[in-house]
Symmetry: C2
Subunit: 542 residues, 2 copies
Amino acid sequence: MAAEIFVKKQTIDLRKKHIGPSCKIFFSHDPVKIVRAKGQYMYDEKGQRYLDCINNVAHVGHCHPDVVKAGAQQMELLNTNSRFLHDNLVLYAQRLQATLPDKLSVCYFVNSGSEANDLALRLAWQYTGHKDIITLENAYHGHVSSLIDISPYKFQHLSDDERNQTVHVAPSPDVYRGKYRADHPDPASAYADEVKDMIHGVHEKGGKVTARHSGVCGQIPVHKNVSSGLFIFQDMRLQEETNQKEHNNPCDTGGIHIAAFIAESLQSCGGQVIPPTGYFQQVAQHVRKAGGIFIADEVQVGFGRIGTHFWAFQLQGEDFVPDIVTMGKPIGNGHPMSCVVTTKEVAEAFMSSGMEYFNTFGGNPVSCAIGTAVLDVIAKEDLQGNALRVGGYLARLLEQQKEKHPLVGDIRGRGLFAGVELVKDRLTLTPATAEAQEVIYRLKEQYILLSADGPHRNVLKFKPPMCFTEEDADLVVGKIDQILTELEEALGLKLQNALSLENGSSKRKLPAEENGHVYLGALSHDRGSSRGLPQQAKRLRT
Amino acid sequence: MAAEIFVKKQTIDLRKKHIGPSCKIFFSHDPVKIVRAKGQYMYDEKGQRYLDCINNVAHVGHCHPDVVKAGAQQMELLNTNSRFLHDNLVLYAQRLQATLPDKLSVCYFVNSGSEANDLALRLAWQYTGHKDIITLENAYHGHVSSLIDISPYKFQHLSDDERNQTVHVAPSPDVYRGKYRADHPDPASAYADEVKDMIHGVHEKGGKVTARHSGVCGQIPVHKNVSSGLFIFQDMRLQEETNQKEHNNPCDTGGIHIAAFIAESLQSCGGQVIPPTGYFQQVAQHVRKAGGIFIADEVQVGFGRIGTHFWAFQLQGEDFVPDIVTMGKPIGNGHPMSCVVTTKEVAEAFMSSGMEYFNTFGGNPVSCAIGTAVLDVIAKEDLQGNALRVGGYLARLLEQQKEKHPLVGDIRGRGLFAGVELVKDRLTLTPATAEAQEVIYRLKEQYILLSADGPHRNVLKFKPPMCFTEEDADLVVGKIDQILTELEEALGLKLQNALSLENGSSKRKLPAEENGHVYLGALSHDRGSSRGLPQQAKRLRT
């Protein structure tokens, strides 16, 4: 196919006509038309190069020749479903398994992170015989209906009546802006205790829980092999079994009925949040005690991105093993594929329902060849090592920005997964949303692709292809420096007191609203120019 | 990658270790290892050729060079998400739209038939503000949790408590085995009236319907533009609007609250069922009158397979246009992709919720290049015409089998989508399940891949790659002839009375159970040999 078939205006018009208007585009008032890409660079129809700081899907670099070759060769040979034996499937499963703790040994291959997370819920419901799910504030787990239900990022504007009553939202373990901050003596325990309290809350209204989905209640011997696989307090198990016998239906019990806790190992859309170490262990303990399991969503952050480990849940320590890990975006470098990995016990409980699981495209030989090639490239080019090195370098550059710019409230991240939270005030943490959007927009004008996310859309999100270099980091941070300097000048912002009154530890009230108005005033003043910030913010919410 | 990495035994062992046991394999006691495929043929690790009569996913032929080339070239150039403008996306949407009625103009690209059907439900819930779904007996619409809920093929063994109470199952419009048969003067109306009655039933228990999913009730101006797009009785709309005003929540009304009727245009897993012409029109009328929309699932049967039309819903006549069409399997010749197409009105209502729809892999340039290449090959090689011609030839051959073999109860189909229903008795229609499994198994021993499905697993299912030839049809039907002859000899079955007492029209009681026992007896007698049928049936339920 030619690089360009339509002129840009035609492409836009056809898109308006034929593509669902809910499918948003970056920079909607002046979108970018990309016709080719290589490594960490994308090129528009005029040959202009963009530095790509956001596409974690193009994990080993856009159009990596090894991945393209593996896909093309297998496409020529065979592409069919997994009802036939094929070596690619088992080889790839074996290779993936080798990156995980031994217990996580059984794979289900599917086509997207959404399919993976939906299957994870089905596994949890079936294995536990329970229905209730605990999810985190601002979480995003996918676009199918069951996942909208567990994604506050999507459903938070809905009324209580419109939400799924079996889904419970725990506070985001955000030590910068959350309930317990960096100054708290033990934020991991504090946030985990919130989950524990939530479980008790669910228990108290236990009778309300009903089996609406297939495979929920009383269908299989609940926790048949649970003692061999999971951390369960035996006394509570016994109590539950007694309840089940009495009621002849585990859902009738006023007892334990959590199906799962699900969280991204590092929250991405939720604002690049890094949970405090030990949080997952404690949550897992509470959840397993309540008969539930722990699902770690690695769709955004897996496959070596964090540098020190292959999986982000491993940041919590070797003593932590989730019951289910879901994968997605980077797994096939853009090829539609993904995977759910779980324990033998969970897999056997799922099978015991008697319901076959068949996924037409999942685990086809092409997807598995591509997945294997991605693993090969990560190893061959030491991309995990690169993420550690370049990620560390990027973090140091960004820390310097924090020292210099009052708009920079927090720098956080691991490896090539980083967030820069912009605030109007380091004490009140008033989100600098319009400013974040302005940074993104001005970077785009300088051919750098970055995005802003989080509940306030004020967190600059770095998740570039893993071949990102120190030079790339210099380039993007240099540009950000310039933009922040200009913005702060326009806003009349100076560092001054802010540095001495560092964030988070303080509950002291400052005139936040007033400050907000001052800043907005400054921005309004700037609106006389062609780039009024509120307007930008609106058009940039892509 | 080498054609074979592991010896077959190792592949099987690794599969047992690392692949979810719910993922079934064909011929589980002696599965087939396929290493390459071309056109309508698959090849095992020893180079043995199999004739493929079942893989409708490999629509234009396994590994079609044009499709492989389009995919490989685009993979080299760019593979990224639809937040950037790309011509492949809009070109492909335009091409797909051209195959559909004008009203169906808005596309959402996703990764699988399951993602497509789940999105169709979300669109229906959002557009109508209602929740209840009517689905057909034996229907299968996908593997994500929302679709298990509407797939009796999957959930029918669950208890009432375990089923989703907002899902209602209408009788399958099967004129061979269903409630109204070929002898009925107007089966289309009779089956459609069943849906109408069901809607009234749903109305009567209206108060039970609650908004559990996001975007269900009161969130958008319900049916804002409905008059422009859909067939709606204005008086009922007015009544509904009045109810809404009174209750301030459309879900509180005891009035109209069907969200959608969903059906495969021709039921596949459900037993290759061809609904009588006019059924969809009448159902659509009833459903739209009740505020709902019509979803046609073309995942199995679309893209010219039926020969006379590009889409199977078009068999119902030009006056029938669904509100949503979902696509899948054949769309990318094996590449994981799919699409939902709907009207502008439905798409705008979905957008009006304010919730973005983003699908990471959906509509990427590689998928769109592949989809376009598939459309090109269908046209260039006149595969729709081939389906008509070869399908017609196959149907004639199969009709001859029916004349010859008492086990053949019914021949039905359109183009290269055909079903052969095996029965032990043409009057009682006792399913010849074990015999169907035996046919499949013996064909496999003769290197022909066919499957049996339907609620009784007694329907031989033909849905081969579209390049299937008359010689292929001769080969498979010749083998079936031999196998049926042998089976009937072993069972002592002769045509005799059966022919004169043709199926369906009769409610006359024959000693069905007795006949069944006679046949089972014959099979039991045969169990002394190495191929006892009940045993086969068990091992072949793959």
